[in-house]
Symmetry: C2
Subunit: 411 residues, 2 copies
């Protein structure tokens, strides 16, 4: 009975993203101890040459390479052992022709030396004499002053999410603080006369809040800060008041629910009343998630998400996550794959012109990986917790056959 | 010149894991708001039936299914519209034969009704009369009292890591607190006379602490709590003192460094002196990571990690992570894949009997994904930050050819 024009997933998403500025969030400076998983705000260049001095990359003996030319097991080269280079110190002596000094991995080369012979290619003849069994080339087993990082070299790009090893590298460069993208605050507004807080005993007709917990976790995973605005009655003035408050306090607003026909219009009305351009699309040809509303008011993205927990999850992943990534300035590298192939355990039909997202559990049987669709009648809880992944049935497909190979996106 | 017996990766790991008790950590109770990514300590059963009442899964009209049998577009069935069921409330009337009530998705079915006709299959004739164009079967578009979750049903298993949607489900079940595995405290001890804190200006011969930052991030990612014990001089008594302190305060101890030949023996000595059985292996046929020491003292795992940041990363992933997972009682599901296929950009040789782990950057060219080995001479910093993944060259292989397809583990 509705006569709405639904957009396709691609149309809706590209329309929305085209109105979002890449990296629209401000920055803040944090100590590197708090920078894990944060997004770098600006390109980061090395403040100095590293290692900053010539270091050995092996345990062995610092020598003049030319002294070792021609050395073999049958006619070794003999060198005078001048001493040992203590770790972390500047050598107190230099190496002349015919001399060597014992050095550990990471130790500094003494003046005069230009290569290191590995421990395994040397015999200790006496306490101050070694025999070298193999020649080394100049620079062999040595890392030069600026060979790891040159001063001014680009180390990490703006938009990069900092991994543990990146933070390690920053420490190695002597960087104690850095500028990262401020976490976007994402407001969560739950509507619905039937929704009660999770700590309440429910009476028939009511359901507990599931969505604010799922959304808060998803928002934190992507690097945002969830702001729970509570549960709001299905009344225009109530929804408007809370949404206006959220508008001041947050960067993105998610309004979930609106399961009754009347409420859907209310949420749409509130978004349109909040500022221009207002609603960009209302309804997308995906299942679940069809009634999704996407709007932008005075530059702030606002989504009207369906009330069903599974639809909320799918809509977040399809729409809210890309929007947050674009706002944070994250450059997505396409090969970061979390897909796996599996065989469909049963045939499923799908409507042409609509993308279906099927939650599946994965099971190994007879050496094959099977995707078992979780199709219980809109089960709210179990289909959420049992799912290992999601299979996408494209809008041009009429379904999948039993045994057909499908791509499963792990969740 | 060393005459040590090195174990293979598999031998060393299985020897070590065989001495670790599955789920050896205590538990604690946390509110569900703090349970994201935590590990469930015990099987979790549903405390109640859900949804707890008969709900509609669509927007439509609650009816007696038998009234609609035989309905078609050409000869619809007419039903008296008795009223609307408000969301979240117990219907104040029941449905007799010949009657219908408008209901929204999630609304409670009135007594007497046993199915819901979708909005799209109904025409509103007048304010109190509808025509039904298609029959529904009993139970159609309805979710029963215990159809989502039965009271006493297993919802999540012990050892499960809680995802956002799991926490949502717990909220839906009215669970406010739950018992999770206590986070393992992992002590990080850095040895090396050449290592200085990251905030210090370095002089020739010195390097800054990289490893405690990489390790802290890796420990947190897996669900542990890093405890930095600082930088210790390469002296037996010093290392022993700090290790004993760490032993009291932590569940697992990581000692990194020991780049000088003397220190390696010191770390080994300290581990052996700390308790039985002491060192389980000293040296593994992997590269990087060969000098890895694994020991258990009075039930506590202690690792002597090499000082090289890349080796630290690899050894953590190969050894420390599986040990932490076993201690936490995490059941690893094998199909969680983070692998991707790529073509090797250049040939690499490898030694038989040794597993090589090659850091690679990924690059898309001519429609192919290429893995570019990062082989700069033990570059500490850039090979850490440039790597997109790791390619494993098995111990039976002598290398890979240019253009050969390899599996890249994304990091």
């Amino acid at each position: 009975m509705l006569n709405q024009k639904f957009l396709s997933l691609e149309e809706a998403l590209s329309l929305f993203l085209s109105q979002i500025t890449f990296r629209s969030l401000p920055s803040e400076i944090v100590p590197i101890e708090e920078s894990y998983n944060r997004i770098l705000f600006e390109d980061l260049f090395s403040p100095e040459d590293l290692p900053g001095f010539e270091r050995s990359t092996v345990d062995g003996f610092a020598v003049r390479a030319s002294d070792t030319f021609g050395a073999k097991e049958t006619s070794p080269v003999y060198l005078k052992l001048k001493g040992e280079i203590p770790m972390g110190e500047i050598p107190k002596f230099s190496i002349e022709s015919g001399e060597a000094a014992s050095v550990s991995t990471g130790g500094m080369l003494p003046e005069g030396a230009d290569a290191v012979v590995m421990l395994e290619q040397v015999n200790l003849v006496s306490s101050d004499l070694i025999e070298v069994l193999k020649p080394v080339a100049p620079g062999e087993n040595v890392i030069f002053k600026d060979e790891d990082v040159k001063k001014g070299e680009l180390v990490l790009k703006a938009g990069h999410r900092l991994k543990p090893q990146d933070v390690g590298a920053l420490a190695g460069l002597g960087i104690t603080h850095l500028r990262v993208v401020k976490k976007p605050t994402v407001a969560i507004i739950l509507t619905g006369d039937e929704v009660v807080p999770h700590f309440e005993k429910i009476s028939p007709g009511k359901v507990r809040d599931i969505n604010s917990f799922t959304l808060a976790g998803l928002i934190e995973e992507i690097g945002g800060k969830p702001l729970k605005m509570g549960i709001v009655k299905d009344e225009y003035e109530e929804i408007k008041k809370v949404t206006e408050e959220a508008f001041i306090k947050s960067d993105v607003i998610l309004i979930t629910g609106g399961t009754s026909v009347g409420t859907k219009d209310m949420v749409a009305q509130v978004i349109n009343d909040l500022g221009n351009p207002g609603i960009l699309f209302h309804g997308v040809t995906i299942k679940p998630g069809k009634p999704l509303i996407g709007g932008i008011c005075q530059g702030k993205p606002i989504f009207g998400l369906p009330g069903h927990p599974v639809a909320v999850y799918i809509c977040f992943k399809l729409f809210v996550e890309p929007v947050l990534k674009k706002m944070m300035g994250i450059k997505v590298r396409e090969f970061k794959s979390h897909h796996i192939k599996a065989k469909m355990q049963r045939s499923l039909s799908s409507q042409a012109g609509r993308i279906d997202f099927i939650r599946v559990a994965l099971e190994e049987r007879d050496g094959n990986l099977w995707a078992i669709p979780l199709l219980s009648k809109s089960g709210l809880i179990m289909s959420l917790v049992k799912a290992d992944g999601i299979v996408k049935i494209s809008s041009s497909s009429l379904g999948v056959e039993e045994g057909e190979e499908v791509e499963v996106e792990l969740i």
